[in-house]
């Protein structure tokens, strides 16, 4: 059965266009991607991300368990910290990209809506395999909503609504707080290159919190946004979109997610296979591309060198900041280097060329301010 946010009727009444994300029906767009894009890059966008996967993990050995299940350095975490890491299978293929939150007496896994079932099955399988660890999993995806403010001025929202002190909340950190009398978990993580704060709130208080955020952000020009626009921010920053960029057989090294792995760790699921690939060499790599002719690219379009296929487009979109088509492609490692030009297969006689480029594609105002600050 299709799942809906507590704010579903509000989204409908506000004219949002609904789309399906995993099992959820959520706003894909509010007033249009272009305006929503500008709101985030210049001011603040307000998103209902209630569909995200939220799994609670408890048990005395949960740290030890997660250390084995995740590729990152879980042992180095402390309370209130967030780790962006991977779940891989024994073959070293990516199962999911997750955010792991370490709370006082439990951990939380957050991820995209589309990966909930596979994440649950994967970790549950290992929890069952080692019953002596006493790991308890609880799917809290439908008990808690998630509201997110993203943008150059997004910091104003938690500062005014939760506490002035939230200005000190570091990236990849979270804390318990309150919006008026509403308990929330305020998390600072994201992949857009902008300030991003997520409020995890019990469903019964979600509507009230949404209204308070809207009121508070009015002065800063806050705009309600749908989920679709997030994709272009990710492309611009080369934040891997696991629904599109990760195929069934993609490994972390092919996707350029080396930094999500703690290579010095004694053991984790998939380690042997990942090291084997590292020794033998990676067959293909995910690389950012741009097209200068203004025409969109289709997924799976072949990339050619002297008429030979050397890769394919996995995902593309239009960047309003760069005013051009950008995308991601898998290219054979030998040629997966920045600063090159290749032809793309077309159905017409007109030749089209793409460029391989460095990512992130540009530096956002938020990052400039943070670096200067």
């Amino acid at each position: 059965m299709t799942k809906r946010s507590i704010l579903h009727n509000h989204h409908l009444a506000s004219g949002a266009t609904l789309k399906t994300y995993g099992e959820w029906e959520m706003p894909g767009e509010y007033i249009g991607n272009e305006q929503e894009y500008q709101a985030v890059r210049e001011r603040i966008g307000l998103f209902d991300l209630s569909c995200i996967t939220k799994i609670k993990i408890t048990g005395e050995s949960s740290l030890e368990f997660l250390e084995e299940v995740c590729t990152g350095n879980v042992s180095a975490m402390s309370e209130g910290k967030i780790l962006n890491t991977l779940l891989c299978n024994e073959e070293g293929k990516i199962i999911a990209i997750i955010w792991l939150l370490m709370d006082e007496e439990c951990f939380f896994i957050h991820s995209v809506a589309e990966k909930k079932r596979i994440i649950w099955e994967h970790i549950n399988q290992y929890a069952q395999k080692y019953p002596e660890k006493g790991i308890k999993l609880e799917d809290v995806s439908e008990s808690f909503g998630c509201l997110s403010v993203i943008g150059h001025k997004a910091i104003e929202i938690p500062k005014r609504l939760v506490s002035e002190d939230t200005i000190g909340l570091p990236y990849l950190g979270f804390e318990h707080g309150k919006i008026d009398d509403i308990e929330c978990l305020l998390c600072r993580y994201g992949y857009t290159g902008e300030y991003e704060y997520r409020f995890i709130i019990p469903n019964e208080s979600l509507e009230k919190a949404w209204k308070r955020i809207e009121e508070t952000g009015k002065e800063e020009g806050i705009l309600k946004c749908g989920l679709d626009v997030l994709d272009i921010f990710m492309l611009e920053m080369k934040s891997v979109n696991q629904n599109r960029d990760i195929l069934e057989d993609t490994t972390p090294l092919q996707a350029g997610l080396h930094w999500m792995i703690y290579f010095r760790k004694e053991a984790f699921i998939g380690k042997e296979s990942i090291f084997e690939e590292k020794e033998k060499g990676i067959p293909r790599k995910l690389i950012t591309i741009t097209l200068e002719d203004g025409q969109p690219l289709k997924e799976n379009t072949q990339i050619l060198l002297d008429s030979e296929k050397i890769g394919f487009i996995i995902h593309s979109g239009y960047s309003p900041t760069l005013k051009k088509e950008i995308g991601m492609a898998y290219i054979e490692s030998e040629y997966a280097w920045v600063g090159l030009e290749f032809e793309v297969e077309t159905t017409t006689e007109k030749m089209r060329k793409l460029k391989t480029v460095s990512a992130p594609l540009f530096i956002t105002k938020t990052v400039i301010v943070a670096q200067e600050g």
Partner: protein
């Protein structure tokens, strides 16, 4: 772009990238092997998770290794390993052009 030109560009980039990774690992004491750093790894926040002190260390390392100078305005290129490589290539090409110009005028 012809295959020969592509291969030439790759070789040039590979050389700079290897030298840059060596600077990062040695100067910042990163517990990593060169092939454990992805070329598009961001330097701050996610990615390598460095801070402003690390950034200064990289600046000094890059200036010494590649004999180029980096100004405050150039700091915006310090987004990822790859964007630093772009910057180094650009600076090295500028230097080559300058010395060729000087030689031409000398003759």
């Amino acid at each position: 772009m012809k295959k020969e030109e592509i291969k030439e560009r790759i070789e040039k980039r590979k050389d700079i990238l290897e030298r840059l990774k060596k600077i990062l690992i040695e100067r910042l004491s990163l517990p990593l092997e060169p092939d454990e750093i992805a070329e598009d790894s961001t330097l701050f926040g996610l990615g390598l998770g460095l801070d402003s002190v690390d950034a200064l260390e990289i600046v000094v390392g890059v200036e010494q290794e590649f004999d180029i100078s980096i100004t405050d305005e150039d700091m915006q290129v310090f987004r990822s390993v790859n964007t630093i490589v772009d910057f180094i290539i650009e600076k090295m090409e500028e230097k080559t052009e300058e010395s060729e110009y000087k030689e031409d005028n000398h003759d």
